[in-house]
Point group: C2
Chain length 274, copies 2
C-alpha cells in the first residue's frame, strides 16, 4: 500500500469513496495497480484497472495476487465499459491527458449503475494554465505561480517528470459543466496544493485548510512517480471531485428515472457547455 500512502491526494480521495464491500470498481489509468489492490482488500467484488502503459501493467500484474483484480491494456480515449456494470469509477490524475473528455464522461456515466459514484482527481487548472510554467516570487519573496491564459483551453507541453508531456488544460468551470452535462450530480469538490510554505499555502491555517494539512512525510512522492523530486512536490496540486449518478435518488426509491430530471432542467434553463 506504500504507493497510495505517500500520494498527497490519496487521503482526500479515500474520504470520498463509498463503502466498497461487494462493489464493482473501475480504475481509469490504474498505473501500477495500487488502488486496484487496495480496493480489493476492502472487499470489492471486482476491480478492473485500465492502463495504456505496458511497463506499468507488467508491474501491476506482478504485484497482484487477488483474483478480484484484473487489468486491461487500453487507451482510455477508446475504452468503452459495459453499461450499468459498475458501482464506482475512480480516476486519479488521468483526465487531464484525455482530449475527448466529454464523450468519455458520457461513457463512464452510462457504465455506472444506479447508485454509482465517480471519484476523480485532475491536476489543478491553475497549474496547467500557464504556457510557461515556473514558480516565481512576489515582492515579499513569497512563491507565486504565473497564471496566464487560464481561459485558453487546450494542450500544454510540460517538462515535469518527463520531457514534452502534453496535458489538456481545462478550467474548473469546464470540468464541472462536462460532469453536469454527462448527467452527474456534484456532491464534493476540493482543491489541494501542497503543504504550508508552498506557493499554495503560506500559513497552513484558514477556512479551506481543513483537509489538506498532510504531514510533510506523506508528500514524498506521487503514486505514479515515486521518483518525483522536491520541486515537483511543491508543484503538486490537484482538484478532486465526487459525482454521483442516478442512484443518489433511485437508491432511496423515490425517483425514476432520476437523471432525466436533471437533464431536462439543464437543457431547459442554460446553454450546454461549449
Amino acid at each position: 500500500m506504500h504507493g497510495l500512502d505517500v500520494a498527497p491526494e490519496w487521503d482526500a480521495l479515500r474520504r470520498l469513496l463509498p463503502e466498497l464491500r461487494g462493489k464493482r470498481v473501475l480504475d481509469l489509468g490504474c498505473g501500477f495497480g495500487w488502488f486496484c489492490r487496495w480496493t480489493a482488500g476492502q472487499g470489492a467484488a471486482s476491480v478492473l484497472g485500465v492502463e495504456l502503459s505496458e511497463r506499468m501493467l507488467a508491474r501491476a500484474h506482478a504485484e497482484t495476487r487477488d483474483p478480484a483484480v484484473s487489468y486491461l491494456k487500453s487507451d482510455l480515449e477508446q475504452f468503452s465499459p459495459e453499461a450499468e456494470a459498475l458501482d464506482l469509477a475512480y480516476s486519479s490524475l488521468a483526465f487531464h491527458y484525455l482530449t475527448g473528455l466529454e464523450s468519455w464522461l458520457a461513457r463512464v456515466h452510462a457504465a455506472l449503475a444506479p447508485g454509482g459514484v465517480l471519484v476523480c482527481s485532475v491536476e489543478h487548472p491553475i497549474m496547467t494554465a500557464p504556457r510557461h510554467q515556473d514558480w516565481s516570487s512576489d515582492a515579499s519573496g513569497l512563491p507565486t505561480w504565473p497564471v496566464g491564459a487560464y481561459l485558453d483551453e487546450g494542450p500544454r507541453r510540460t517538462n515535469w517528470l518527463a520531457e514534452g508531456i502534453i496535458k489538456q488544460h481545462r478550467t474548473i468551470g469546464t470540468y464541472l459543466q462536462l460532469l453536469l452535462a454527462a448527467g452527474f450530480i456534484l456532491t464534493h469538490l476540493e482543491e489541494w496544493g501542497g503543504r504550508s510554505g508552498s506557493g499554495w499555502r503560506t500559513s497552513g491555517v484558514g477556512e479551506g485548510a481543513r483537509t489538506s494539512a498532510l504531514p510533510a512525510d506523506r508528500l514524498a512522492a506521487s503514486p505514479q512517480h515515486p521518483e518525483v523530486d522536491e520541486s515537483a512536490r511543491i508543484k503538486s496540486a490537484w482538484l478532486t471531485c465526487r459525482s454521483v449518478v442516478r442512484g443518489l435518488m433511485t437508491a432511496r426509491g423515490s425517483l425514476s428515472p432520476a437523471p432525466r430530471i436533471f437533464q431536462d432542467v439543464r437543457i431547459g434553463r442554460g446553454p450546454k457547455p461549449r
Copy 2:
C-alpha cells in the same frame, strides 16, 4: 438598463435566470438597483433590493418608478429574509465581501420556496488569492497573474477602485462546498476573465471561450462602478454559478423532502466543509 448592459458579467448571468414573470425576487447587494428594475420589467411580481450603501440606495430610489420594486437598507451579513418567500435570489459580485457566508447561504436557502434558484457571481478566486495583486509578464511578454496563497482563505486588502477595500478570499472548492452544504444543487458554473488579449485569454478561441467573447465595447464599466478604468477592466474576472434548491425535484412532484436526500448522503459519505 445601461448599467447592466455594460457589465461584463451580465450577459452570462442573464442566461442563467429562470423565467421571471410573476416571480418573487431578492437582489442581494443591489447597488443602484439596475437588476431590480430590469427584473420588474420582465414581469416579476415583486423585487426587493438589499444594499448597505445609502448613497447607492438614494440613487436606486430616485431612478425607480415600478411599484413592484422595493429597497431595504441592510447589512447583508445581518439580513434574514422570510422563509420560503422567494423564487429567485440573485447576487452579483457581493459574496466576496461577506465573512459569514456559510450561515448566510443557509438563510438564503431557507428563504427560497420549492423551485427556487440562486444565481450569483463572485470575483474569481484566482484574482482574490494573491496578497500582492498586480499583473506581470511571462518570458514571452504575455500577461500573467501571480497566484500565491490560493489555499490561505481570509481577508485580502486591495486598492482596486478604492483604497483599502477588504475582500474575503475563498477557493472555488470552498464556494461550492458551502453551497452544497447549504442544500443547494449545482447546475451551472462558469468562469470569465476578460476579452482576448487579457491575461485570462490570449487567443479568444478555445473549449471554454464560448460564452465569454463579449465585444470590447461591452466592457466599458462594471455596473457598480461606471467610472472603472482600463486597468480595472482587464483585471475583471468572476465566477458565476446557478444553484437550485429543493424544487428542482419537488416541482416535478417526485421527491419529498428533496433537500434531505442530499444532506443525508453528504453527511454520510464525506466531511462537511471546514
